[in-house]
């Protein structure tokens, strides 16, 4: 996905403040009377972000501005962009919101949990979520799912959007700069916290001691925006103050209004947009990469004449496609691009667990392939639903012992073969995930190696008839027999040891996989499952791998070698055992 921006990729639209009275400056030498106008956050799904800020920070959707929310006294605008990290440690460390009851707010957020919401709560050293700063206010920290650090405070005098927190090697000088160039009032909150008060938004600055703060541009808080009455006049004044312009005043391409904007570089690497009244941001044009197969596409050949499937591919685009068609989208053939982007983002948020954004490949900022618009993986039966399971299987499920939760795990076996870094199984190994979706295919005459990045597993498949492994030798991924049917690689998997299961599949499963290049950058993959002991009829799933030109080779996923999660999980389970044993002893 690409977003068309003005002349530089990083900047997109700012927005306007509704009606805002200008702060009158009575002190300092400020030449302009600016007011904070917007915070611009780069992330991977605008619609998900709008929903998130609406739900958790009480911001309001703005009609006609799908990329922006109004948070009371400023706006937050979002744009699709690749970032190299969260806001912490940059010139704009965080943004602050004030709520009437912080303890209640944090309790709410904690009960929502990370799973599903993507809210990450930050605990203080003593484990608490809220800290009371005597004489000032209560404070707490969270990050949004895209890495924006957010401070929540309880300041009854100023609810809603509350402050912008800068990092600075010289906080006093930085605050003076903002005061001198943009106006506001040098003031102190409750006589404790020095800052610049712009109308009803505070600008604070913390001393940054670890070298210099990072540039904001390219991080989640890409830039902050201020509004001035007359941009040309303000620019002239700023020039006299030797302010460094990064973009002169202009009306950007695709601007929603004819108001101008400029960019200046503030102290400590902070990118600052300056906009005129009436600024309504820039309309992003979302360009979706086509994953449609070209009718006349001719599959390339290897020098020895086989269809050439070689290269590095990724399942990133397919992340988020549900296996089965949802009943609520019965009549739809494919999602819109924006729906597809939102679906993938939701899938990622739902699977964050404790992972930071930087851990996840499928956030749009990190992947180059557009999210798939496919409705469901199951293409047969044509209704997109898995077939009915057999009576015998239903009985098996009813009698199955309950699954042991991780905190009760006795041995690694209780945690499953994926967590153990053994395998996701012959079907699961191909499935898209939140990261490490790479697939390398390499061919030599009569052989094809299919290497999966996740866990790192390689199957060498002969495309010529060969003697299979004997009945006495079964393996986790089985014995793959390949053949070419026209330009399609067909692989029949036999000799599975049955120690992994996909949705109940048994050791009787017959798995047939098909790989077809459907375009220069697309590799269609389908898998047919025949397992009469579990499903009453065969079923087929399909999704598309996209060529990944960014990778020279797959990242070595040394899963088992770095499986600290296993040690930590078992260790935690044993700690719980010990605590419970102590409690029993105490009661006795």
């Amino acid at each position: 996905m690409k977003c068309r921006t003005t002349d530089k990729n990083f900047f997109i639209n700012p927005f306007k403040i509704g009606v805002k009275s200008l702060v009158l400056l009575t002190m300092s030498f400020a030449v302009n009377a600016a007011t904070p106008n917007h915070i611009t956050i780069a992330l991977s799904s605008i619609s998900e972000a709008v929903g998130w800020y609406e739900e958790y920070l009480d911001c309001q959707v703005i009609t006609g501005r799908e990329d922006t929310v109004n948070c009371g006294n400023t706006e937050i605008e979002f744009f699709l962009g690749r970032t190299v990290g969260g806001s912490a440690g940059t010139g704009v460390d965080r943004i602050g919101f004030s709520v009437p009851d912080l303890d209640a707010k944090m309790a709410d957020l904690e009960s929502v949990g990370v799973s599903g919401a993507g809210v990450r709560l930050v605990r203080f050293d003593d484990g608490s979520l809220v800290r009371d700063i005597p004489g000032l206010y209560k404070t707490a920290f969270i990050t949004d799912p895209w890495g924006t650090k957010i401070e929540l405070v309880q300041d009854k005098n100023l609810l809603g959007f509350h402050h912008i927190q800068l990092n600075s090697v010289d906080p006093d000088a930085a605050l003076d700069w903002y005061n001198r160039v943009l106006g506001g009032e040098r003031a102190s909150l409750n006589g404790i916290l020095d800052g610049v008060l712009f109308d009803d938004i505070w600008l604070f600055a913390s001393k940054y001691t670890d070298g210099r703060p990072g540039m904001t541009q390219g991080r989640t808080i890409d830039h902050i925006g201020f509004e001035v009455a007359d941009l040309d006049e303000a620019a002239l004044q700023m020039s006299r103050l030797a302010v460094e312009f990064r973009q002169d005043p202009m009306v950007p391409d695709n601007a929603r209004s004819n108001a101008k904007q400029a960019f200046v570089l503030g102290p400590d690497g902070v990118m600052i947009a300056i906009v005129e009244p009436g600024w309504e941001g820039v309309e992003e044009e979302i360009v979706m990469a086509s994953t449609e197969s070209a009718e006349l596409y001719v599959v390339p050949r290897t020098p020895w004449g086989e269809p050439d499937l070689q290269g590095i591919w990724t399942a990133d685009a397919a992340h988020g496609i549900p296996l089965q068609r949802g009943v609520d989208i019965a009549g739809t053939d494919e999602l819109t691009p924006e729906e597809a982007a939102a679906r993938r983002e939701r899938g990622t948020l739902n699977s964050i667990w404790g992972y930071d954004r930087e851990w996840r490949d499928t956030t749009l900022g990190y992947v180059t392939s557009a999210p798939s618009r496919q409705i469901a993986m199951v293409i047969d039966p044509p209704n997109g639903q898995l077939p009915e399971t057999t009576a015998a299987y239903k009985e098996l499920v009813a009698k199955a012992p309950p699954r042991i939760p991780p905190q009760r795990a006795r041995t690694p076996v209780d945690l499953g073969t994926y967590v153990r870094c053994i395998t996701r199984g012959p079907i699961g190994m191909m499935m898209p995930s939140i990261y490490n979706n790479g697939l390398q295919i390499l061919q030599s005459p009569g052989n094809i190696a299919i290497q999966k990045e996740m866990i790192h597993e390689t199957r060498v498949i002969s495309t010529e008839p060969r003697e299979g492994l004997g009945d006495g030798l079964k393996t986790w991924l089985g014995d793959s027999h390949g053949r070419w049917e026209d330009d399609t690689l067909v692989v029949e998997v036999r000799n599975l040891n049955g120690r992994t299961s996909y949705l109940g599949s048994s050791e009787n499963m017959k798995l047939t996989q098909r790989f077809t290049r459907t375009g220069p950058d697309t590799l269609e993959y389908s898998f047919t499952v025949e397992d009469p002991s579990v499903w009453t009829e065969p079923w087929t799933g399909m999704f598309t791998f996209i060529k990944d030109e960014n990778q020279i080779e797959l990242v070595e996923y040394a899963c088992h070698e770095g499986n600290y999660g296993m040690t930590n999980t078992l260790s935690a389970a044993r700690t719980i055992d010990a605590r419970e044993a102590e409690e029993v002893e105490y009661q006795e």
């Binding site: 030599s444 052989n447 199957r459 080779e553 296993m566």
Partner: protein, 273 residues
């Protein structure tokens, strides 16, 4: 580590090595005569399933038979074997020799192989299991069975970048020197060992490998080991690799994780009463 690949120095190192060895090696004398089968691109065809035979996986140096795991009787013992190190001994720095002794003492649980960790280079080559070479159009893949290890050897990269991060199997760039596949491998974590005797290197390790067909069913494997932080000078190992001649020869998937879990996590397991 910041390393730059330099093919001219690799070629030079390799050439010198062959010259140095030519005088005292029966294997080397065979190289000149044999003209191997060629692949589609005119380079030697190394496709197939190969395996080292010997005891290098136990100890790269000369070693006598010794006790291994007493509970397994003679099966658990270490077989004697002739070393594969050219010149006989690995030229360790003093501190490293001490470290090798510590490794030896801790090997029942300290050897990455017992933990089913990726074997690294060159160890993957002479583990006692078959591996398969696939020559693609612009890269060569080596698939090893143990721990699902594999390597991609880039044959099409003109100015190789330094490995962006350290990995167990490293980053491999290759080229053809006549009938010899030369592979420059760097970017290792330094955590892999060379054998079950505790021989080791650091993450400054650079391995220059040469695969030279000597007859239809064998090739000479030579690896120059450089690591200035561990050794006093570069040194070499050399051994033949043999083609597996069974018509159904295969690299069978060898997922060993489950067999390492007792060593790694046994102390955290809850035993059923």
């Amino acid at each position: 580590m910041a390393i730059r690949f330099n093919f001219s120095s690799i070629l030079l190192t390799g050439t010198l090595l062959v010259m140095a060895l030519a005088s005292n090696s029966a294997i080397t004398q065979d190289i000149g005569d044999y003209e191997p089968e060629k692949a589609w691109d005119g380079n030697p065809d190394l496709n197939g399933v190969w395996q080292a035979i010997g005891t290098a996986h136990w100890d790269l140096e000369d070693h006598e038979a010794s006790a291994g795991l007493p509970e397994m009787g003679a099966i658990g013992s270490v077989p004697p074997g002739q070393g594969v190190v050219v010149g006989g001994e690995i030229p360790y720095q003093d501190w490293a020799l001490e470290r090798r002794r510590e490794n030896w003492a801790s090997r029942p649980t300290g050897d990455p192989e017992t933990k089913c960790y990726l074997p690294g280079v060159p160890r993957a080559t002479y583990l006692p299991y078959p591996f398969q070479i696939l020559q693609g159009t612009d890269r060569i893949m080596i698939v090893y069975g143990f721990a699902e290890a594999n390597r991609t050897i880039h044959m099409d990269v003109v100015n190789p970048e330094s490995p962006p991060l350290d990995t167990w199997m490293g980053r491999s760039y290759g080229n053809w020197d006549g009938n010899t596949l030369v592979v420059d491998a760097q970017g290792f974590t330094g955590e892999a060992w060379f054998d079950r005797a505790g021989n080791f290197a650091s993450n400054a390790l650079r391995v220059t490998e040469r695969y030279t067909p000597i007859n239809p069913n064998a090739m000479l494997y030579e690896a120059t080991i450089e690591d200035p932080t561990v050794f006093t000078r570069p040194w070499q190992i050399r051994m033949p690799l043999y083609r597996r001649l069974e018509s159904n020869a295969r690299v069978v998937e060898y997922k060993c994780v489950e067999f390492s879990e007792e060593i790694l996590y046994g102390h955290l397991m809850k035993r059923e009463d």
